[in-house]
């Protein structure tokens, strides 16, 4: 459809025609704008979500540290378990090993993931 051949009749038709948008078209348009803004808003608010999550994370780290310390001194860490473990060291030609327990602390994170701290306690 080129304008040159029909003497501008086509353009005139577009302007003169009294048809508006149908309700369906308007609704579709609004829906598309809505979908696009739903896509944009998380980009804007994501940083806040991440900051909040890092706050929860450091909270859980304090919990894990507390639990590890409790386990170390009186076996009362809520999130910790003790696993027997032997550590082997080698200095030049001398080899020796230390018997002890590994203290493993796992604190669940919300909504997913865990904070893990591992520590060693010699016998």
């Amino acid at each position: 459809m080129t304008y040159g051949n029909n003497g501008g009749k086509h353009m005139e038709n577009i302007i003169r025609q009294s048809k508006g948008f149908t309700l369906l078209e308007v609704i579709l348009g609004i829906a598309i704008i809505g979908i696009i803004s739903i896509g944009i808003i998380p980009i804007l608010s994501n940083s806040f979500l991440l900051t909040t999550r890092s706050g929860q994370r450091s909270d859980r780290i304090y919990d894990a540290r507390e639990s590890t310390e409790n386990m170390f001194y009186d076996n009362s860490g809520d999130h910790s378990v003790k696993i027997p473990k032997k550590l082997n060291f080698k200095f030049r030609n001398t080899e020796f090993s230390v018997e002890g327990q590994e203290i493993k602390t796992e604190v669940p994170m919300n909504p997913s993931g865990t904070i893990t701290i591992k520590s060693f306690q010699p016998n």
């Binding site: 803004s37 940083s47 806040f48 900051t51 450091s58 540290r65 507390e66 409790n70 170390f72 001194y73």
Partner: protein
């Protein structure tokens, strides 16, 4: 294309009004999104700042208290009374801030660690049934955001001293004194 350039007809008022109102609607929507982004950025900054400051403070307290040889929980009024003539170090919550007071043998130095502390929800405390565990809870509040750290610490040196000392003083207060 040639036709469009030679076309002498203008735009009708109705077309212009419709176009302007469409531009207006889009501008409003974009402006609202911009404002929203700005607001989120601002509160994000507040949240980040109070988290950082509170973490720094709690770490400083835990680090110092963990290796203390003596620890007493006391009220701020008692602390002010004895501070001038004592050689202990102190942490205390006053005027919505946490302060550290260090005595180096000759002079006493006061440092503000964090401001914006909510005093009703912040304290130093004993832990029930445990003699060598110390609890600290600090709540920070700035503008619309708040953040809270509540943790316990084992007093390592207490184990090595015989007879084992205990955490002295009130069960919940706003000040502690310790011997590094």
């Amino acid at each position: 294309m040639k036709y469009i350039l030679k076309n002498r007809k203008g735009i009708t008022l109705a077309e212009l009004i419709i176009a302007l109102s469409l531009v207006g609607v889009m501008t409003i929507v974009l402006y609202i999104i911009l404002l929203f982004g700005n607001k989120v950025f601002k509160i994000d900054n507040e949240q980040y700042e109070i988290q950082e400051e509170l973490r720094f403070t709690v770490d400083a307290i835990l680090e110092d208290v963990k290796y203390a040889k003596e620890l007493r929980i006391l009220s701020v009024t008692d602390m002010i009374d004895e501070k001038a003539s004592s050689s202990y170090n102190y942490f205390y919550i006053q005027n919505n801030s946490v302060y550290q007071s260090v005595y180096d043998g000759a002079n006493r130095k006061e440092t503000e660690l964090v401001s914006d502390i909510e005093e009703e929800r912040s304290f130093f405390a004993k832990v029930d049934g445990k003699q060598d565990v110390f609890r600290v809870k600090l709540t920070s509040q700035a503008a619309s955001q708040n953040y809270q750290i509540d943790t316990e610490v084992k007093l390592i040196n207490f184990r090595l001293i015989d007879p084992v000392p205990v955490v002295e003083g009130e069960s919940k207060e706003k000040a502690i004194r310790y011997l590094p």
